[in-house]
Symmetry: C2
Amino acid sequence: MRAIVIERPGGPEVLRLVERPDPAAAAGEVRVRVHGSGVNRADLLQRMGRYPAPPGWPPDVPGLEYAGVVDAVGDRVDPGWVGRRVMGIVGGGGYAEALVTPASTVVPVPDGLSLVDAAAVPEAFMTAYDAAVLQMDLSAGETLLVHAVGSGVGTAAVQIARALGARTIGTSRTPEKLRRAEALGLEHAVHARDASGWAERVRDVTEGRGVDVILDLVGGPYLEGNQAVLAPGGRHVVVGVTGGRTATIDLRALMARRATLRGTVLRARPTAEKAALAEAFARTVVPWLADGRVRPVVERTFAPEEAARAHRLMEANRTFGKLVIVWP
Amino acid sequence: MRAIVIERPGGPEVLRLVERPDPAAAAGEVRVRVHGSGVNRADLLQRMGRYPAPPGWPPDVPGLEYAGVVDAVGDRVDPGWVGRRVMGIVGGGGYAEALVTPASTVVPVPDGLSLVDAAAVPEAFMTAYDAAVLQMDLSAGETLLVHAVGSGVGTAAVQIARALGARTIGTSRTPEKLRRAEALGLEHAVHARDASGWAERVRDVTEGRGVDVILDLVGGPYLEGNQAVLAPGGRHVVVGVTGGRTATIDLRALMARRATLRGTVLRARPTAEKAALAEAFARTVVPWLADGRVRPVVERTFAPEEAARAHRLMEANRTFGKLVIVWP
């Protein structure tokens, strides 16, 4: 198989397309012939040496999600898996023509969805669904605020919230991304010109009440604003800190609002937790993907030789939705 | 009835014992002839004009908890309540010989517990139980870290955790308070000499793993240490900010640990939520109070004329457990 490896920590130029032996499926695992590998911001960090793969995953092949077709199974796995179209998250090794992963963490790809589009689903939709719905209990009639609404997670969150019957407010620093998010169903688009001006707009839009759930990919610089716009009993979940990792928090305000702040990541979870998420996701969100109520947004696809270009484009912060590496 | 009122915002000297008409129980309420009124740190803030009573409660009579005997009921309340020994939390008006409160929020006092001791129960034990167990899901085998372990909430939390089968670590700046907390069942006493030294001790005591739940009455100055000692999936709940309200938070560390930070208060909750807490508390903790597995710690009692002295003693930060005003 071919795989994209990190030769040494560094810029996009350290990504190299190489030949590797096909991995073998161990007990409980399936082997997937990969058709699409989603690109994530975390891959950039890993490439720079700042986000190593957890134990048990390929250390030098980035990639946290895939879609493809099962072509082999290990012991204790139903051979009926072979030939099925699947997608999922992995701890690493996603940028390769083949990978092995626990069968329990695999999600079926519905018929109407291409494997290229499916490769844009797992990280964005599982992160948004897990963080906003499973963890923060976003419910019909509540209001969700999504920062960086033009990101893969942001575009997924808007659609999931809408499918649930929740209201949505999204911020972006780029007016063009806001327009595209509105086309996906975003109700209130707020242009974030600086670290705090958006908060006043969010309070206006909610008539002073504030928001029930915040899905946050920005982190530090927005914390003060986030504390100001959270409604009583509000829940703020941080899934990314692209703007900065530290900020001043007002714990008295947290008490007065009885507010919750949680950080979350998918990558480091034990297999049993990833399996539980895959199961809930297959039950709830996959039917929405099947009937078109939610759909992944693929901005561009890249040949395996173009992985460095994909990383450069993501670093430029101008993408809306996802980038996918396609294995022809 | 007699009541202790705040004549104007200020020091302990603004508390005045006055005559007031007995309040009348409205529909859904009971009237309680009060025997003991617990003193809380929040009463000091209210006296200084910094923590006004929520709407619907006496604005000028402090006091968030009571124990006494029901002597009248309003419409739609079973007259069988009259004569029962009860305790509970109120939004204000606790420093009085009589008060009215929703019947749904009242908790029975078990036979073996005096009404003076019972007056030391509601705020401390309901806060600790609600925050650590109901909200943060402290479970058998987990480890609870309690800051300011010599406080009313702290001494309650240690005993509740022990009754649940959880391990306990407590910090205090006063070695004498730590010794007394050990007598209540605290397993690991950690002397907090400064804002951060205790964190290393907590990591040692947990063999580097960290703690599952933090019950925090200190706030700002300990946040960095709290982030350092929280185990993966750990939950940190802030019920007081006596050390300071703001601090720098590391959101990336929050993500990496998949940690939760929540603020909570009892006072501002709607009646339905207070009723749900009273019900859970009566079912779980009252039996422990009845069989002596947990017990309130009353440091000193005061006559109604001595309310100012009680406030001065609490301000001096040298009390272990609770102060109670007794109505003879």
